[in-house]
């Protein structure tokens, strides 16, 4: 499978939107559930087979949505108290939510159709009053005390969504950086003005990355071993590319180093080859990553040695790290030890 490499901020937007919509969904979900809460106590508990299925699908939808948003929010704080893995659970729960929501819409379809038909029918004001009365009589408690109008309720929900969005989205949308009050990251806070997802201490590379014996191994048709000095003597290039974390924060930075495609040429890699990137990291699921040919051959993909004109900080992957366009941060492997040409 080939991934697009342009625009360079593709993954930045993708993941920024993902986390921002997740946070915006918190008040949306709470508001939706709040309006239908009295139905929880409707009697009889189950009227028919269809009704029991409907209630079961709502229970699935509700439980999955709550856990999905809660685990997503906590994961962005790097707080993960669950025994099951985040990635798989979040992924499969998303499917469960989509399915149960479709089923829920199907069971409510007559009501939805009835509502819109009435509005189109020409007397919207009367229709909505009639509907409100009908709702009030079927479940008297569903009208909040004091009576919110439909418009008032939506205004309140809209303000709440705006409030949570504006106070967090600055972690990925730079123009709103100043309003970032509750996001777990301020992407410019960190060594060399850039946050870090995994520290050198967490990765267990504090000694190995600083070792004078460090060499870059390249496995290919004509294997090579390069010292840091040798890498610095190769043609150097600069690229302005964002680090975009799966947790939602992102920031653009100016990287300098050797083009990965020059390194592949150095070992006579055949055109169209991919790359396996191996880190000094001793543990972690991303100690070894795969890079498709579309990224390996891209002129912007670097084995970076510098950040903002300075030698890379150890937290950013000293002595050498991968930086490529439109890729998740976890695949921008730090503390690179070895590159393996893979066909």
């Amino acid at each position: 499978m080939s991934f697009p490499t342009r625009p360079v901020w593709l993954y930045r937007v993708n993941q920024g939107l993902h986390v921002a919509t997740g946070i915006a969904s918190i008040p949306l979900l709470l508001a939706k559930l709040w309006t239908v809460y009295p139905r929880l106590f409707s009697w009889p508990i189950v009227r028919s087979v269809g009704h029991s299925l409907e209630r079961a699908s709502i229970a699935v939808f509700l439980a999955a949505s709550l856990l999905q948003l809660f685990m997503g929010l906590l994961n962005t704080l790097q707080w993960y108290p669950w025994p099951f893995t985040f990635r798989e659970t979040h992924f499969f729960l998303a499917w469960v939510i989509i399915g149960s929501l479709l089923i829920h819409i199907a069971t409510k379809l007559p009501l939805i159709a009835q509502h819109w038909r009435r509005v189109r029918g020409g007397a919207p004001a009367m229709a909505s009053t009639a509907r409100a009365t009908a709702l009030a009589t079927t479940s008297a408690t569903s009208e909040p005390a004091g009576g919110w109008s439909r418009r008032g309720f939506f205004t309140a929900v809209g303000i709440t969504v705006a409030a949570v969005t504006v106070t967090t989205v600055g972690q990925s949308f730079s123009p709103l950086q100043k309003l970032n009050l509750f996001a777990p990251r301020v992407p410019s806070k960190g060594p060399q003005g850039l946050a870090v997802n995994r520290t050198a201490a967490e990765a267990g590379v504090k000694d190995s990355a600083r070792s004078l014996d460090w060499r870059l191994e390249i496995a290919g048709p004509r294997p090579a071993t390069l010292s840091l000095a040798e890498l610095n003597r190769m043609p150097q290039f600069e690229a302005t590319l964002p680090i975009s974390c799966v947790e939602g924060w992102s920031q653009s930075a100016r990287w300098g180093g050797v083009r990965v495609r020059d390194l592949m040429e150095h070992v006579d890699a055949p055109t169209g080859s991919g790359l396996r990137v191996i880190s000094l990291e001793q543990f972690g699921p991303f100690a070894q990553t795969e890079m498709g040919p579309e990224f390996a051959e891209d002129e912007l993909t670097l084995l970076a040695l510098r950040l903002g004109g300075e030698v890379l900080d150890i937290e950013h992957g000293y002595p050498a790290r991968i930086i490529s366009p439109a890729r998740p941060g976890v695949l921008q492997t730090k503390w690179v030890r070895k590159l393996e040409v893979a066909s």
Binding site: I23, I26, P27, W34, Y37, S57, A59, L62, A63, L66, L67, F70, L73, L77, Q78, W79, W82, P83, F84, E88, T89, F92, L93, W95, V96, I98, G99, L102, I103, I105, A106, T107, L109, P110, P144, A145, G146, G147, W148, G152, T155, A156, I159, T160, A163, V164, T167, T168, L181, F182, A183, P184, R185, V186, G190, A195, V196, N197, T199, E202
Partner: protein, 158 residues
């Protein structure tokens, strides 16, 4: 309609099946039990604690603002809803501040930020509520004036 509904249900069963099968296929039983437990915890906390709390708070505010223009109560409740959701959002960060080994995670003073935002919401709600109250009073006065002039006219005509 029946056909559309049936089609939509079938369409929904596909992703639902993918998700449930995916979980079942990926995890051993004890992990599935754990996921099930957390799904239940979410429902219990939401339905049993969070919503009753908001309903009680809402009812108390409506009671306290009885006799005032309806808009005053609505503004106060709306302000509290915004504040409540922001508290929910900031709570994990406040609880977790200083814990991660990575010094670039949770770099802000979340409690301090939350306090300021809550003050701002409180002040804004108070100003808006005061304006709504004043407007309500003006309307009431005008109505009273109108009523009394109507009464006077009726008396004249009578």
């Amino acid at each position: 309609m029946k056909l559309t509904r049936a089609a939509l249900i079938c369409l929904g069963l596909v992703p639902l099946g993918i998700g449930l099968y995916g979980l079942w296929n990926y995890y051993p039983t004890e992990m599935l039990v754990s996921i099930g437990k957390w799904l239940a915890i979410g429902i219990v906390l939401h339905d049993g604690v969070l919503v009753p709390l908001t309903l009680v708070t809402g009812a108390l505010i409506w009671r306290a603002t009885r006799g005032l223009p309806a808009a005053v109560g609505r503004i106060i409740v709306g302000g509290m809803a915004v504040a409540g959701v922001l508290i929910l959002l900031a709570a994990p960060a406040i609880k977790r501040e200083g814990v991660p080994a990575n010094p670039t995670v949770l770099t802000q003073h979340y409690g301090y930020n939350l306090a300021w935002v809550l003050v701002a919401i409180g002040v804004t709600s108070a100003i808006l509520a005061a304006l709504a109250w004043l407007r309500g009073r003006r309307v009431a006065t005008r109505r009273d004036a109108q009523n009394s002039s109507n009464v006077a006219r009726q008396q004249l005509e009578g």
